[in-house]
Symmetry: D2
Subunit: 284 residues, 4 copies
């Protein structure tokens, strides 16, 4: 099965999302001859294949479902996970900020349950490549299951390793580093990135941001940016528009940086300082 997103009817091999009552969601690979068993009855794939997207279908007990193509956000929210969720608000901004797109070679550590791996694989397309490192075999295995279910596994190399030992790759376009101690690895990440390549870290606490910033400076990264993104939903009632009562207050701080080649030429000193490459390093 491969990932071919565009069609107006459900085809054998397509990813499909079934949305039932009370927001119960299922994402499946449509495969002729198989079936989906839910607590509201059974749906035969053969009866789904050929139906237009966006229509209602019914289980053998008559329970209704909408048959839809999942968006990337839907894939992300249906990932089977043991680790913390990654949110579309953050993922979207990361992809745009690092310019992740078709044909690129991008890297990641750790793989975790495969949320960002899914997003990266979705974005780079069949011409691109994702290499993702993870140290725990069972976690990697879960990511593999998620990627396989989504038809994205063929775009990804999952590697099992303690990244203290470094990376096999060089010249990556960008690197997403999602570990508790990014400061220990930004030197190795630098070696894996191509010159000018992008690094992004997603970091829960400010104390970790502080340590990461020192390490980025020490390792001659530049264009460092720290930010956070807040998403607020509104009740979509046209006569009573207002934000919902509660929202997610924090997912993580985003730290972006680029690998820059330092320069000894005295003519470039002011520019290097302006973009944050220093030869002196503050004591931690």
């Amino acid at each position: 099965m491969s990932f071919h997103p565009s069609s107006s009817t459900a085809r054998d091999g397509d990813l499909a999302q079934l949305v039932g009552l009370r927001h119960k969601h299922f994402i499946i690979n449509l495969q002729a001859g198989t079936k989906l068993e839910t607590h509201r009855g059974i749906l035969l794939h053969d009866e789904l294949i050929g139906k237009p997207w966006g229509t209602q279908v019914f289980s053998h007990t008559g329970a209704p479902f909408f048959l839809l193509q999942p968006s990337l956000a839907d894939l992300l929210s249906n990932i089977t996970r043991t680790t913390q969720i990654l949110y579309p608000k953050d993922i979207g901004f990361i992809l745009v900020s690092m310019g992740v797109g078709p044909g690129q070679k991008v890297m990641e550590a750790g793989t975790g349950s495969g949320s960002m791996t899914t997003a990266l694989a979705y974005a780079v397309g069949d011409e691109g490549r994702v290499v993702s490192y993870e140290v725990k075999p069972d976690v990697q295995n879960l990511a593999l299951k998620n990627l396989t279910r989504y038809g994205l596994a063929s775009r990804v190399d999952l590697k099992l390793r303690d990244i203290q030992e470094g990376f096999d790759e060089t010249d990556a376009d960008s690197f997403f580093l999602d570990v508790p101690n990014p400061w220990d690895f930004v030197q190795n990440v630098r070696a894996a990135l191509k010159p000018g390549g992008f690094l992004c870290c997603l970091i829960p606490t400010i104390n970790q941001v502080e340590k990461t910033l020192y390490a980025l400076r020490y390792n001659k990264y530049a264009f460092i940016d720290v930010c956070e993104i807040l998403l607020r939903h509104y009740k979509p009632e046209p006569a009573r528009i207002r934000p919902v009562d509660r929202m997610v207050a924090h997912t993580g701080y985003l730290v972006f940086a680029r690998r820059i080649e330092p320069n000894e030429d005295p003519r470039g000193k002011a520019l290097s300082e302006e973009i944050g490459v220093t030869n002196e390093v503050e004591a931690t």
Copy 2:
């Protein structure tokens, strides 16, 4: 010239970003035999081609620049525009929420200066297709210039038309509608979307959101979501971490919806109501 993002050195035909002092940015197509004239001197493309990304280069007067590959966010911030800016925080979330990715067929109206057109073309890749409508010839022409400069024009059909007259296309995977009066067009957009397809509107005022919500209900869209995204930058000084003093407080409200096929089957009534498809329409 085509868009091939991955390389470790600057090649003839690549997009390149030159970053000089005081955050002065230039994005250019590298073309052997041509030159970039800046107020800090001239740079010959022939001297840039072959250099590793991320290194410093110098103009004929000795002014320093960093030679970088632009990210999508860099492309967006360098667009020549007459219309309002579209922000990476919003664009990233839109792409992920609508699942815009390689190989898709996506639509847009109006084209404007081509910010979202650029993002859509970047994301769908060479296998995908963007169709974008605009009513003003000079605005369309500016978008064409931006897309051409970025090597993305071959992925885009720019159409000049008042969209009151409808669209030529059907079965679009998703549609980005960025006009002052989206409520007047959601019926035509519905005809252009494939069943289950995604609509996103970016809307400045709440009054416009209200009218759009009524029109979406009336036209049998479902899974309606209204939200806004806030981005806060921090000063990246490890010893003095704090948010910057001021931030953008508002870019626009995002309204998402999906084209759903209504169903007369009484078994599906409760589900249709739950996801927001109604047969009754509130008076406006």
Copy 3:
């Protein structure tokens, strides 16, 4: 009993807050000879009176409590309520923006459970006066109980009336209007305010804000300000500082305005327009 906030030990007649395990809070009037019965045992007021604030005390079963003086925020969070909560973040900003302070005459409608009544009575002191209107007898009665328990009832006139009929008072320094349809009452409120007096409305939906803004313009209010306040808490762990996971996303929009006397003098026309007093009124 009257409200005398300052003392270093608990006195007969003081308000006291007892904080037990699992954040269980009680606010009581200390009265010699009485007792507090909790699900963790009984506390005799006689044993609390004379103890320094900030110390631990124990029930007859040995359950520990901290004996504290409640802040205004503590009073607000312990109000017995049937209506929606008012938050310190909003109340504090309202008090400062309208300049509510000792000795003032302030008004309110509706009383509700008495949250804002409590805040206003607290702020105006023994020299000030709060007049609060409510249409439902049982709601007013609940507010009276809350105010009495807090020793603040003597500063407040609670009036039972449908405010469509207008107010008895004139020359109020400020007016807090917390009703679902403020636009129906801003004319009556104008008559109750002194010239230059402040109005504040707390409004849940944007649709209500819209109607209120039209009514304020029509009734010659000026210095109109619409805003909202977001409060984000952090985990107070010095080694792992980060915002808490979730936060309140919306309590209400705050709309401020001042009663201004319009002027026919042509020399003042530009100034009147600048501060928002118009002679034309947009059609609703």
Copy 4:
């Protein structure tokens, strides 16, 4: 002159705010026989005294002004300052959270230009007392001028001292500590607070918050809360409601704590831990 906020016409001795074109504001003490000279002409106090608040008045050159009573927020925004501004959004929340009200004895360090001093003096009334420490004579002098101009000086003791040397007072109801290094002084503040008394620090960077949290724990404060407040203004146009384009992204982190008396009684151990009083202190 003393501070008597309530009147419907301007009286000799009242504070008055004059608002002219382009939001030009003046706050003055009305004093018979004196005059206000502005760049738009002269206003005689004798012609202002007796006028109703909220009316337009004119300078000798015919320039219009509105005659208003200033709110506390108006006083704060008109303070002559050399130090950073304190915002009503923060001040209001601080007053409510610490329960600052009429008759209280509150303390502050450093005085700075007198913004918080003004707010505290306003809130405690004639029966209350503010004691404020400052180390720089010229800064203290500026605060004195501001307080005098606002008629609030009689409620305040301004003391000139390096607070390393400690405070003269004990049994303060609450303490506002606004210095770059609060961790150096929380022990001295503890001695100045009454048992159960409130401390609030306003802190620009997270690094300072971290150090302060360690110091608060070490000095047996409890009920520690860290938060930040965001204020977003909207354009008050009823037909085009939307947030303003830009907002203040950061003023400071608020850290609240209460002085608690630790207890050796083993029955209270769990409660002490729950509210954050520990006998062990994490290494800094």
